[in-house]
Amino acid sequence: MKRRRAVLLVRIAVLAGLVLLLEICCRAGIIDPLTVIPPSDMVASMIEQVSSGELDEGIIQTFSTIALAFVLAVGLGTFGGVLLHRWSRLRDIVDPLLASYYSVPTFIFYPLLVALLGLGKAPLVSLGVLSAAPAVVIGTLSGLDGVSPVLLKLARVQRLGPARTLWWIVLPDALPRLFSGFKLALSYALIGVIAGEFILSGTGLGYSISYAYQSFDNRGMYGLMLFVLLVAVIANGILYVGEGRLARRRSTG
């Protein structure tokens, strides 16, 4: 326990030291302010932009797109996973595709999606779903595979119907792995949507960053970047903690 605390302290010290070093280098003029601005300025710029309300539209746009992509990916991915689990012949056929899906940079499909669906929310949502759904499929499959046969036999002995078996036996047992799939899906959806906005779009936070870069508004750009990264880190952090809790609950109970 003491060791864990020491690790945590050192980790925080390292991160704080890096930020401090950057601050000093920027203030002392070792790093050109046209390249990187001091971290304190980044924070100030972020707070200004968020509190002034000029970001509201972009925030709503980006996060609603991410949420839509995530929900669709979870729905479609779970459905696909259950289907493949039930129909093993199909699974044999599709398996190589799942194994090498993430080796293909999904992102290269984005220009095609834009040409197909026009510049708007649709190609971004599609890109998010394309990058997130397979993670859910893989998570669902591994969750369902992991349900031990003894439990299913128990369900049969207790004469549970399919719905109750699913709710009382399969779901609790498969939940940690399902959750891992969802966690990956959220970070992939986030990356996909923001990257899409960044490269080619007219709205959203990703677009605002690239717009600020192209109009040489460094201060604004760094503030926006910090905001997006903070949100991403917090979202991933919450899911990470949740995942750890689920895994622990499973191992103790």
Partner: protein, 262 residues
């Protein structure tokens, strides 16, 4: 009796292999059908159908313009991949062997792994300027962390007997790494290389798609901007085929080495 069982199992293997080949063919056909359907359905506005794309690809492969862009991507990618795999290997070994540093570093790396790094691309551009070095740096940013994490995991999972044996034999640290640690970690290292390969590629391509004048990523965006649908489809096809082929090859290699170490 034993002869018979061997024959039986070998025929089973042959049958399994045949089923797998059949499945692979079926999957390929399925994907081609989907591709064709999308092409027909959108009347070639976004995606050109398979036959047309392949024909265009053959013409494209004969133009020096394509090879110019291809070489730019290849060069940036190879450099980035080499850098991220070597640095990742070294960092992974250090973090894996020195437990405390590893415990400090791992969550930081894992956190960096999940953030949308695209947003950081302007910083890379400001630091390295437009051009090759920015693409390489962005590729390394994507590829370095998975390589480090995989190597770290492999070294940490090593049985302590191996390290103790190396100590007893008084191997120097360099030799311990080369003769004991690397071979024992090989399957995981290959896995790390596989993931790092595809992410480095992603980084380089995103770099080319955003404010660049050369490379396959540029060609793709440019093809779309000029409504040259066969061009962008052909570039996507090349990237997909190359990444799937490499991934499959490395998966096989990983399985082969893990059999050997077990």
């Amino acid at each position: 009796m034993s002869d018979l069982s061997i024959e039986d199992s070998s025929s089973k293997v042959v049958r399994a292999r045949r089923t797998r080949a059949f499945d692979a063919a079926l999957l390929t056909l399925l994907m081609l059908a989907v591709w064709q359907a999308i092409g027909v359905w959108t009347k070639g506005v976004a995606i050109s159908p398979p036959s047309q794309t392949v024909a265009y690809l053959f013409d494209l492969l004969r133009t020096p313009m394509f090879w110019d862009h291809g070489a730019a991507t290849m060069y940036a990618f190879l450099l980035a991949f080499l850098l991220s795999s070597l640095m990742g290997l070294l960092l992974g070994l250090i973090f894996g062997l020195h437990r405390f540093t590893g415990e400090v570093a791992e969550p930081i790396l894992a956190g960096f792994y999940t953030i949308p790094k695209v947003t950081l691309y302007p910083v890379v551009l400001l630091l390295f300027g437009l051009g090759m070095s920015a693409k390489v740096a962005f590729g390394v940013m994507h590829g370095l962390v998975p390589m480090t994490l995989f190597t770290l995991g492999a070294v940490r999972g090593l049985s302590p007997v191996l390290i103790r044996t190396a100590k007893v034999l008084r191997l120097s640290p360099a030799r311990t790494m080369l003769w004991v640690l690397l071979p024992a970690c090989l399957p995981d290292v290959i896995n790390g290389l596989r993931i790092s390969f595809s992410l480095t590629m992603l980084g380089v391509l995103i770099g080319e798609m955003f404010s660049s004048q050369r490379g396959l990523g540029f060609l793709l965006v440019n093809g779309m901007a000029q409504h040259n649908v066969p061009l962008s489809t052909a570039v996507v096809l090349i990237i997909v085929v190359v990444s799937i082929a490499t991934n499959t090859l490395m998966l096989r290699l990983g399985r082969l080495t893990s059999h050997r170490t077990n």
